[in-house]
Amino acid sequence: MLEFKNVSKEFGPVKALSNINFKVDKGEIVGLVGENGAGKSTLMKIIFGAYQADSGTIFIDGRQTRFTSPRDAMSQGIGMVFQEQSLIGNLSVMENLFLGREQEFRRFGLIDFKKMAEASRAQLAKVGLDIDPTIETSKLSFSQRQLIELAKVLTLEERISGDLVILLDEPTSVLSEDEVGLLFEIVNKLKTRAAFIFVSHRLDEVISLSDRIYVLKDGEVVDEVKGNKAKASNIQASMVGREINTEYYRQDQRLPFDKEAAPLLSVQNASVAKKFEDISFDLHAGQVLCLVGTEGAGREAIVRTLFGMHSLDRGAITFFDKPSLKITSPHAAVSNHIGYMPRERKIEGIFASMNIAENMTSSQLGAYSRYGLLKKADELKLAASWIDKLSIKTPSASTDCIRLSGGNQQKVVLAKWRSTGSRIIMLDHPTRGLDIGAKEDVYTMIREMSAAGIGLIVIPDTFEEAIGLGHNITVVKDGRAVKNFNCMQEQVTPFDLVSAMT
């Protein structure tokens, strides 16, 4: 009933989706899998109308159509159950269910809440929830809210004449096993009324629930398997697919590091409530440690804790072999030569309204000032030298960072941390959204930093990146380190990583 033909989407130079062919039949449950960055979320956003495809055609029941907005997609029967919940906590359940559609319950200009409660009970019954619809949404449990999210989408049934297609984005990631079972039961029951697109990192769940599974990789559909014939190992193999090119990641420049010397960083049984538990590792000078795992597995929290943004509940972190040194704030981290490059460059990495020189010195103004007065000439000199060293493409050192390409912005951020003399640098998705050439530049920089004796913790964008860059890889799952790989001693494959994390 819903069909995509040759749909493509580009973001600047990056091809997010190319020639996607995808269809969902009536009453079918279709699984959608792929590693981070494979294009799943872009595809979903096109399906529910948040993005528009650059090319290709979309059909509903054989009729060509387009979705100009989520609202438009909704009116054509596409509903989205969000992973990060879209309910408004301070409104009642019924107000959330009928948000934006209150006029259906209007009587003499006032809302007839009795009628709304009545209608809400009918909707809640569809998902097997027996709760008072006037209760405040924030008072409910997470899984109850997830079901209300589904019920909200199912209100489409009464509103439109055609069939529904419902997207479920990682609906099970925060549910307990019982709750997952309940959700699956409900989904199976609703198959008569709606088709489902099921997106999940948990392969076993996708296989058990789906009639058909699409495997996405690098923005393309690389495999399509029938649910009853699917095998986790085959799907994993096609998820990671391509040959690893050792040259691409500068593997020949991966130097051994001195394991005997005291580590720059030693983490012992570190725990932060609800984020991660019992994490231990050492980081030596020149070592590259990659943290692999699904979104929300706890990798970001680990890195942020090291940077002083979360405080430790249990365990110990020792920096530079000095047990007395405690990093309790980013300010302390920076002044102790620890650098952190967050993931969303546009939001967190660069100051959009500042120029290159100002961005580079933003973490080290003390060194570029005297008595609180800035030494602007020195700032520009520093910027010029790094523009040269990293071949940053810019008209001048006082160009606003927002005008640079993504790769060049990334170089500015790296220059910021390298020029402060950082000894430990943590990089969260350093190559996300970059084109291939810019990625290679980042890999080269990582090698150079490693050769210069900097300890690096990298949260990579892909498995290949982890294997290509890391001396060591730690797989984090549900906040725990489930497996360690030593890339210098064994040949690690993406398959090994996927099997450990899913």
């Binding site: 940077f307 943004m309 980013p330 300010h331 981290a333 920076v334 002044s335 952190y340 967050p342 939001i347 967190e348 990495g349 660069i350 100051f351 959009a352 309204s353 500042m354 100002e358 933003s362 973490s363 103004l365 003390g366 000032s369 609180g372 007065l373 800035l374 602007k376 910021k416």
Partner: protein, 308 residues
């Protein structure tokens, strides 16, 4: 473009009354603008940081009253030691601002609320100190700030210009100035870059308080007295001036020079209404309407996602 709006206003009022464009009238505008500019510069630092400060009316009045009492305490003339009162008032302003910033940043109260409350505290303290009355200063030397003219402009205008330049230097040349833009542009990133956010916030409010106290002293120089209404109307006018001049309320855009242009726009509107002989009782309403027009003409509102 704010500067074009300013020029257009000058042309407009001159065409209605040629006397508008005269040294005497420009001096009048400059006198009215001087204390007002100090307040606008102070609040601009806060707005750049992405916060808001509504304590200026209390800050100005309380600093002015403290200045007067101190001035009288030290003999009532500048020569007898009244200059100490200037230092005392400015020091008090900075401390008052720091307290305001501490309440906002350390106790995590939105600046809108904490500063509004501190403004009321300031007014209340002024009423308490003065008993609801007026404190007068009668020192010819101190009043020279208003009475002595150089090149047609009284001394207080030069004082204001001096602190305008200081403000520009703080914005462009100091760590504090740079960090204000960092926090206003992306507070999380500023924190992740090791910028001491809490300290910067408190310092910024302290700086604003210092400028409010400057405005208080200049008000006393202008009027020869201080009371609880010495800062009246400055909240609306100063924030309006900053916005009209091109300082974005969501932070990191604009600066002290924009505040200057905004202050001149608002003062020219005010003065122009008097010069063309608009009746008193409709001036406030017309000012409000003209300010809305000036904001529409001089700011780029398409860049704003939503207006809260």
């Amino acid at each position: 473009m704010p500067i074009i709006v300013l020029i257009a206003l000058v042309v407009f009022f001159t065409s209605l009354n040629p006397n508008f464009m005269s040294l005497r009238n420009f001096a009048r505008i400059a006198i009215a603008a001087s204390p007002f500019l100090m307040v606008a510069i102070g609040v601009t630092f806060i707005i750049i940081m992405g916060s808001i400060d509504l304590s200026m009316e209390g800050g100005v009045a309380l600093s002015a009253v403290i200045f007067c009492f101190a001035f009288l305490f030290f003999g009532g003339t500048l020569a007898s030691g009244g200059w100490v009162a200037i230092i005392a008032a400015l020091g008090f302003g900075a401390a008052y601002g720091a307290l305001n910033g501490f309440i906002h940043a350390k106790l995590l109260i939105p600046s809108f609320m904490s500063s509004l409350a501190m403004g009321f505290v300031g007014i209340g303290a002024t009423v308490l100190l003065t008993g609801g009355g007026i404190v007068r200063i009668d020192d010819d030397v101190f009043r020279m700030l208003l009475t002595y003219r150089f090149q047609g402009f009284p001394l207080m205008v030069y004082v204001a210009v001096f602190f305008l330049i200081v403000g520009i230097l703080i914005q462009k040349k100091t760590i504090l100035g740079r960090n204000l833009y960092a926090i206003g542009g992306a507070e999380d990133l500023a924190r992740a870059s090791g910028v001491p956010v809490l300290k910067t916030r408190i310092l910024a409010f302290s700086l604003a308080g210092f400028y409010y106290a400057l405005a208080g002293v200049l008000q006393v120089a202008k009027l020869g007295q201080a009371e609880s209404v010495t800062g009246a109307n400055l909240m609306f006018l100063s924030i309006t001036a900053a916005v009209v001049g091109g300082v974005a309320l969501w932070g990191a855009i604009g600066g002290v020079v924009n505040a200057l242009i905004g202050v001149l726009i608002v003062t020219v509107i005010n003065n122009g209404m008097v010069v063309i002989g608009l009746p008193d009782y409709i001036q406030d309403g017309v000012l409000g309407l003209l300010v809305i027009a000036a904001v529409i003409l001089s700011t780029n509102r398409s860049a704003v996602k939503f207006v809260k």
